[in-house]
Amino acid sequence: MSWASATEFFAMGGYAPFVWGSFAVTALCILVEPLLIRARRRRALEALKRAAVSATRVKHEAAA
């Protein structure tokens, strides 16, 4: 498949909005999803750290 020019490639034979609209939204989803998972993981670790801190505080208060 040889495109005559970059312009022709991006034009996609007149179907640019449909073809690029499909690929762009797909790429967006595939880029965003791992970021959301990373954020979820970070939130889980932060919640665990907070729980560990308050557990230590309770232990010290109980000992005191």
């Binding site: 498949m1 495109w3 490639f9 996609m12 034979g13 007149g14 179907y15 909005p17 449909f18 073809v19 609209g21 499909s22 690929f23 939204v25 797909t26 989803c29 595939i30 999803e33 791992p34 998972i37 990373r38 979820r40 993981r41 889980a44 670790l45 919640a47 665990l48 750290k49 729980a51 560990a52």
Partner: protein, 249 residues
Amino acid sequence: MSRPIVNWFRFSSPQAFYPLAGTLAPWFAAAAALLAATGLYIAFFVAPTDFQQGEAYRIIFVHVPASWMSMFIYVVMAGWAGLGLVLNSRLSGMMASALAPTGAMFAFLSLWTGALWGRPTWGTYWVWDARLTSELILLFLYLGFMALQAAIDDARRADKAGAVLALVGVVNIPIIYFSVQWWNTLHQGASVSLTRAPTMAAIMFTGMIVMVFAFWMYAIAVSLARVRAIILERERHAGWVLELAEGRA
């Protein structure tokens, strides 16, 4: 089953599976990236223009992979959910919960890319034919599964309720698959079959299959990463999780 080299059932413990998932996920991500690069190159620089549809047909390289994955992930999700129901295993339920958002995303992409393909080729973004309607129902099943689990506080009960929904919804998958055969649909019939050669040009078929595998590797990578987050959430009272969190302080 006398003394296997590896006791695979060891990995049904969240504590054992957590590091395994962490090791495997990057490999599947790398495979996905390589396959996607190859598939996209074929899609845009090797596969020729279609005689009937022009360049619009190139949407096939994301539409079919997304659709196939949306169906496949649902079956796998229902499988893990069913296994968790039968064996009462926590990790199976966690795996089902990890797969759902990715499956929902692919179901949405199937409908989105399909709508953008339908507009120039059929003249409409949407029609209530059997294939499109049953794929929309699949999206609702995914969202319903996620909402149901989110609504139930106790994780084990959420697993069980979600499993029942997932298993009942499995009937939708053969409906989607056979819809173009059983009913008179606007969506085209099957070009790809297990029993005969595909009715599309070989290079187009190849590009499409490469993209299917790219999406599959991506789905595995992302689900493994997500199940690790779910394990941290649900096993938060376990000693090893607290130690892990402290280690990251």
